[in-house]
């Protein structure tokens, strides 16, 4: 399989629904926690090492062949906010659709059958990477990068932030994304021996709490 498949999957324009989500940035902007490039970087760093690490580990474990149902339950257990669980499943369903059309595979068909309303997005991401012939590190890269690129893109729209500043934030975080991917792949390997309970369970309480508040807003630009 072609390595460039990674670029197709990681492209922000891959049609899997991500554009409607801010990764918590909309709530953080309203609360005054993101006002410019500097605190956008802080926000993204926090998300990378919590939700990003967990998502990347689950995606890597899915590529390594762990049971999707068990991984989905592990993702649920690591996502306290019902609103975020709902968003992760909606995104998982959308990715399932896009992936089945792009890299048809029996495993993705089976996943769609088992989870008609969507499995957690990182689980689907891992199976998509498998269908595309990619590795655990590739899937972890997609998850970790998306955990920071989602809020950065949203911040450009929400704050009219200079897009070059947002790109600079992502570039400065690149080394940390590499390290999170290494941890995630290592965690996935351990989970394939010791089970899903050893997967990381880092979480950002403010992200979870503000996601609940955000879901109740009557007027918002992003779905999460």
């Amino acid at each position: 399989m072609a390595r460039a498949a990674l670029l197709v999957l990681a492209d922000g324009r891959f049609p899997a629904g991500g554009h409607a989500h801010s990764g918590g940035a909309e709530a953080a902007v309203r609360a005054g926690r993101i006002t410019g490039a500097a605190n956008l970087e802080d926000f993204c760093r926090g998300r990378l090492h919590t939700a990003g690490l967990v998502a990347a580990s689950i995606a890597a474990a899915a590529v390594l062949g762990l049971d999707p149902g068990e991984l989905d339950a592990a993702a649920d257990a690591r996502t306290p906010s019902p609103a975020l669980r709902g968003a992760a499943r909606r995104l998982g369903r959308q990715l399932t659709r896009a992936a089945r059309a792009t890299w048809p595979s029996a495993e993705l068909d089976a996943l769609a059958g088992e989870f008609p309303k969507g499995a957690h997005q990182p689980v689907v991401l891992g199976l998509t990477a498998r269908a595309a012939g990619l590795g655990a590190d590739d899937a972890a890269y997609c998850a970790a990068y998306e955990s920071v690129s989602g809020p950065a893109t949203a911040a450009v729209r929400l704050l009219s932030l200079d897009p070059f500043d947002a790109a600079g934030v992502l570039a400065r975080l690149a080394g940390e994304v590499d390290r999170v991917v290494d941890q995630a792949v290592e965690a996935g390997r351990r989970a394939s021996v010791d089970g899903v309970d050893v997967l990381p369970a880092a979480s950002g309480p403010v992200l979870e709490v503000s996601a609940e508040a955000h879901a109740a807003w009557a007027v918002r630009l992003f779905a999460s």
Binding site: R13, P15, A20, R97, R100, P104, A112
Partner: protein
């Protein structure tokens, strides 16, 4: 696992004409156009005319509220379970053109939950003159502009005005008050669209709605033929 693996399993992919059980899916018609041109009002009018003869549902794409869905609920044009709202994330044209997955989910869920359906109307969030629907999401599209937005819009063209399967020029009742020249709009639309149809509509006066409904019936007849 290879690229020509045959698709099976539960979900309809996008434009396929058949549901997983082999039944024909509903005809899907998109309504796009600039903010406030009368898309929701046209959807409401179509529902009132067609709901006795067809099994209908509506998907709304609101930019940052649920106002369109709430308007349709308040007006009780359809039972609530037949109206679904999609959140578009600040980019209404992305949700109907570049990344249609959320809208496909909404139409699929409507067919699963209240089906079988003959027709699903998908209203885009108000956008600009370049917004068009993907053929993966809808089978035909209506572009709604209004006379108060300036009578030079048909002349300016753009993908919506030029290529939509039906152009509706709405709010003709306002033409005298805003100084819009309807004859000129008709001539410009003709020049941009050649044989593609145009309807001049006033939802205040009630003109044009029957023509739009007839056009929808024609599309449906072709779809089920």
């Amino acid at each position: 696992m290879h690229i020509d693996h045959v698709q099976h399993g539960p979900a309809v992919m996008s434009a396929d004409a058949r549901r997983p059980d082999g039944a024909r899916r509903a005809l899907r018609i998109g309504l796009g156009g600039p903010v406030g041109s009368g898309k929701t009002a046209t959807v409401a009018a179509l529902c009132r005319v067609l709901r006795e003869e067809l099994s209908l549902a509506v998907v709304t794409n609101d930019i940052y509220t649920r106002e369109d869905a709430e308007f349709l609920l308040r007006e009780a044009v359809l039972p609530p379970e037949r109206i679904a709202a999609v959140e578009t994330g600040a980019c209404p044209h992305t949700a109907i053109r570049d990344d249609i997955s959320a809208n496909l989910e909404a139409v699929e869920d409507l067919e699963d939950e209240v089906g079988p359906l003959d027709l699903i109307l998908v209203e885009s969030g108000g956008d600009n003159l370049t917004a068009t629907f993907s053929r993966g999401l809808v089978d035909a599209q209506i572009f709604v502009i209004d006379v108060a937005g300036g009578d030079d819009i048909p002349r300016k063209g753009g993908p919506g005005v030029t290529t939509a399967d039906l152009l509706v020029v709405n709010k003709t009742d306002l033409a005298p008050y805003v100084g819009s020249d309807l004859a000129r709009m008709a001539a410009d639309a003709k020049a941009q669209r050649a044989e593609l149809p145009v309807v001049f509509q006033s939802l205040r006066g009630g003109t044009g709605v029957a023509d739009v409904a007839d056009w929808v019936r024609g599309r449906l007849a072709a779809w089920t033929a």
